[in-house]
């Protein structure tokens, strides 16, 4: 289709092979599914654990707040790649042996939970103080206040941030290839080392990422306005 664009005299080493491309697409699509599963599971961990981190930073105990705050800062300012290695290699030394899959999803989930805790915190802090006072006046318990009053109002402003990190976690899954999780880059590397052709595999991986993350970003924007309308904001 684009053969006219790549004349041999321009790029002598560039030879896109369509037959080969169709051959590797099924393998890459399978790997795409793995990538989505890894990102989804990691995100689920991050959503739940991030909420705990956010609530812990709001607790009355100064020590707890300080420790969690420092932990979040530490995780946010060190490379995910290094954290993946750390959990995967140090775990067995202290008696926790995890498969690459589990270890990878836990690491990426914990990493992003620190980012999500900041998003939750911002959302919770955006709820006006009067709402808390009104809930107290109605004799609601803290749990009830969070569940019925604060969290529903904290979610809409948090959605853009939560959505960005969903796309972010998806784009960070290639790092799991270093411990042998069979996601897109891992598969592309395997294909490349079998045939010594990297052009098609890496280019397709890039296209697959674009094809998934651009619509996801649009979907998140639509979802945010949907939630806002639902809650009458």
């Amino acid at each position: 289709m684009f053969d006219w664009l790549f004349k041999d005299e321009w790029f002598p080493k560039f030879d896109w092979n369509w037959g080969y491309t169709w051959e590797i697409i099924p393998r890459l699509l399978e790997a795409t599914l793995n990538t989505i599963i890894a990102a989804g599971a990691g995100y689920a961990i991050a959503l739940v654990f991030g909420l705990f981190l956010a609530l812990a930073q709001r607790s009355k105990s100064r020590a707890l707040t300080f420790i969690v705050r420092e932990l979040v800062e530490f995780v946010r300012s060190t490379p995910l790649l290094l954290q993946i290695f750390f959990i995967f290699y140090v775990g067995p030394q202290v008696g926790i042996t995890l498969s690459p899959w589990v270890s990878g999803m836990i690491t990426i989930g914990l990493h992003y939970s620190c980012y999500l805790s900041e998003v939750y915190r911002g959302g919770i802090e955006s709820v006006p103080k009067g709402q808390w006072e009104a809930a107290t006046a109605l004799n609601m318990s803290t749990l009830q206040t969070y569940k019925r009053v604060v969290i529903p109002q904290a979610i809409p402003p948090a959605i853009p941030g939560m959505g960005n990190y969903l796309v972010g976690i998806f784009k960070d899954t290639p790092m799991l290839s270093v411990i042998g999780v069979a996601e897109l880059i891992h598969t592309a590397n395997a294909i490349g080392s079998e045939t010594w052709r990297y052009l098609e595999a890496y280019t397709l991986v890039g296209i697959i990422f674009l094809a998934l993350s651009l619509p996801a970003a649009g979907f998140i924007r639509a979802f945010e306005s949907f939630v806002r309308r639902k809650l009458g904001m």
Binding site: P79, Y89, T173
Partner: protein
């Protein structure tokens, strides 16, 4: 082996790795800042072609993984006749990736400079280039410094990926030492702490100082 013994034995390799990491960080930051400025201005252009080029660049680099971009630049670009050395490929890839995110920050910063400033510069007959350089950008820098601080931390973390194309940075050294000694906790723990020290106790205070410096320059402190 205790942590102290460990460090006293391996500090030369850790130090040289840290040096490479810092070099990668500084070079990628420079590339990112220059690209962010160029593409932000291009995206604000009224020429459709220029604007389209900037939007395409930003969406491609924000829509794919840094690791994919790095591998593509290192393994595929040579087929187009452009072979980069691994060290160069590393900071170019990270800089191009962060530049796409930075372009949106620069654009946001420029847009949030009050309209009156634009009009005043026009009223005293400044050319548009001079207006941008002397009036708008300095104020925009003041506005966008905090998000740039976060982006530069992301760049620092991104430099760990260059170890995967065997640039001998801190991450690479840590992996090598781990492979030959199996002292995983010591080596990966030490590397984590080194990254943390660079980010938290060297870079963050510098950004605080720089934010204060800009605020004073702009007469806001």
């Amino acid at each position: 082996m205790s942590l102290f013994e460990f460090i006293s034995q391996y500090w030369p390799r850790l130090l040289s790795g840290t040096g490479i990491t810092v070099a990668q960080f500084l070079l990628s930051s420079v590339v990112a800042i220059i690209l962010a400025l160029i593409f932000a201005l291009m995206k604000m252009s009224s020429n459709r072609l220029v604007k389209g080029a900037a939007v395409t660049y930003i969406e491609i680099f924000r829509g794919t993984s840094l690791l994919v971009q790095l591998y593509w630049i290192f393994f595929v670009l040579p087929l187009f006749g452009l072979t980069l050395e691994k060290f160069t490929a590393g900071y170019i890839a990270i800089g191009m990736n962060a530049g796409a995110y930075g372009a949106e920050l620069v654009r946001g910063g420029i847009m949030s400079v009050p309209r009156g400033q634009w009009e005043a510069a026009l009223a005293i007959n400044m050319s548009s280039a001079k207006r941008m350089w002397r009036i708008i950008l300095p104020q925009a820098v003041g506005i966008m410094l905090p998000p740039w601080g976060n982006l530069l931390i992301e760049i620092l973390k991104g430099t760990a990926l260059v170890s995967l194309i065997s640039v001998t940075d801190l991450m690479f050294q840590a992996k090598q030492i781990n492979a030959s000694t199996y002292l995983s906790a010591q080596i990966f723990g030490t590397a984590l702490i080194i990254y943390y020290i660079i980010a938290r106790f060297m870079f963050t205070p510098f950004m605080r100082w720089f934010e204060g410096f800009m605020a004073r320059k702009l007469g806001k402190a």
